[in-house]
Amino acid sequence: MRPGRLLLGVAALVVIAGGVFLALAWRPGIDPVEATERAEFDPEVVGRGAQLAAVGNCIACHTVPGSKAFAGGLPVPTPFGTIYSTNITPDPATGIGRWSEAAFQRAMREGVDREGNHLYPAFPYDHFTLVSEEDNSALYAYLMTREPVEATAPANDLPFPLNIRLVLAGWKLLYFDEGAFQPRSDQSEAWNRGAYLAEGLGHCGACHTPRNALGAEDRDRHFEGGEAEGWQAYAIDEISPAPIPWDAESLAFYLRDGWHEHHGVSRGPMAEVTGNLGLLPDADIDAIATYVASLMGEPSAERRQQAETLLERVVAGPGAIVPAAADSMDAPQPASGDRGAAIYASACATCHESGRSLPYGGLNFALSTAVYAPNPQNIVNVTLFGLPAADGEASSIMPGFAGVLSDEDVAELLAYMRDQFSDRPAWEGVAELVRATRTGEHKVSIRPSDGIERAPHNVGAED
């Protein structure tokens, strides 16, 4: 065979393969509808949609804090570039006001917009594909009855070829499986309900499962810990670094209330999640907790024993007299010359060893997942920037120490805390991590727990 013919053959194959890919990648548009053509929504269905939207935490990405709810435009930083969330209010021109329910159902199930464009998986349709038709219907009813807002998100900032949406069809071939949730008959009803909520609309894995080089969740490492908005999302399977093992009861309390006495407060992007989940009926929260606790598994006898010893040492028993704030000056005496210990005694111990129980006192660091975690990013974030208080409601609060602690100071403080409060090996490179975090080279979202509902506009999940 002559070389020319070979080339021709290869070219023909490429053209055919390209054609097959295009045929697979192509999605038709779905005709627009006008608001007047839509039937009235049943208020009961809208109410269910509101709870489902809270499970999905839709508002967190689709709202710029302090601006109108669901109007989009929030920059979502990804390793590939910045994606701006879209307007999902029923505005006909700039939102999804002309989307029929069929178009909405398809977007959730397949990650395709009304016009037939593939959507970036920053919209977690790899999870939302599990959501039932009935639940999507309720979500649609909820969104279509929100206030329409005219707002166009900035264009995504992505390099070639990622700015070509057709590329996403290839990504989907590799990483996306469309399909409804399959309950497991060997598990309880609550477990299955929890799995449906956590793996589907709740998309826990979007943060808590590590991602591969192409941004897809690594399914072999389900819930082994990931990253979100500059924060570490801890492992929530059997390798959870929490010194006190979670169980269904403590998880449910944490998810509902945003804190737990043996684990601390939710913060960073998780504060938005727990803020939203508070709107759910207890049965659904209990179901999520049942499912996640089952993946964490029963702690070994040894781990349980360690936890019990730790709790006895740290937590005052019932009826114990809680020392007044003034007594908190009896801070642990630092070994002379240990700078980290001295900083801890003055800056941290007054709240964190005050003897006051959560949520009014700080968590004793012996119970802190952040101190036990393999990566110190979260404790660096909190040390530098603190926990800003929510507006006009009870919330966690901590001052940031970026103004007084140098990078080296933070490194010494955290080295002391790691050594003093955990049984884990020292962290490496903390000063450099602090520097990158302080300068914004490593971007971290810092928001109060009511960040999205922030005044002055005061919009929120109940909006």
Partner: protein, 165 residues
């Protein structure tokens, strides 16, 4: 252990435990009683001072961090005879009721205006968020800080001019 603290432009030798909070040294050793003890937990803002241009809660700041750094308290913003622009504006707006939070408010606002004398109301509200006032003079405090910004800009004045030693 002795630490040398630079407070309002003067150096002071302090012999104290390095973990001692700055607030105690200011009030007990240096008789600078402007900064107040409110909660002792860094949650109310009444102990706010400025360190190297940043507003800081002195009740949770150990002195061992402060060698060689420039500390300014409310006493450093001016004198009774010659109040600085922030102080003049607070007097003009009669922004104090009980006054316990006011030195902290002034220092938090001062840190903001040193960076941005043209800060608008939204930026002032955001910056003063960590500082609590129980009397409810917030409207006057806001007015005073806006006025201080005007004074600093119109006089082309260095924000911390007129500082007492």
């Amino acid at each position: 252990m002795a630490v040398t603290l630079n407070v309002n432009g003067s150096a002071h030798e302090i012999d104290a435990d390095p973990a001692t909070p700055l607030l105690y040294v200011l009030r007990n050793d240096l008789a600078l009683n402007g900064a107040k003890f409110g909660c002792g937990l860094g949650q109310c803002g009444s102990c706010t001072v400025i360190i190297d241009g940043e507003a800081v809660f002195s009740c949770v700041t150990p002195i061992l961090l402060l060698e060689g750094r420039e500390i300014v308290t409310v006493e450093g913003l001016g004198t009774i005879e010659e109040p600085g622009p922030m102080q003049a504006a607070f007097i003009e707006a009669q922004a104090a009721q009980c006054g316990y939070c006011i030195p902290g408010m002034m220092m938090q606002a001062q840190a903001l205006l040193q960076k941005n004398p043209a800060a608008d109301e939204g930026q002032i509200r955001a910056a003063l968020e960590p500082n609590l006032c129980r009397c409810g003079t917030h409207s006057r405090i806001l007015k005073a800080v806006l006025r201080a910004g005007e004074l600093m800009q119109s006089a082309g004045m260095q924000p911390n001019e007129g500082r007492a030693g």
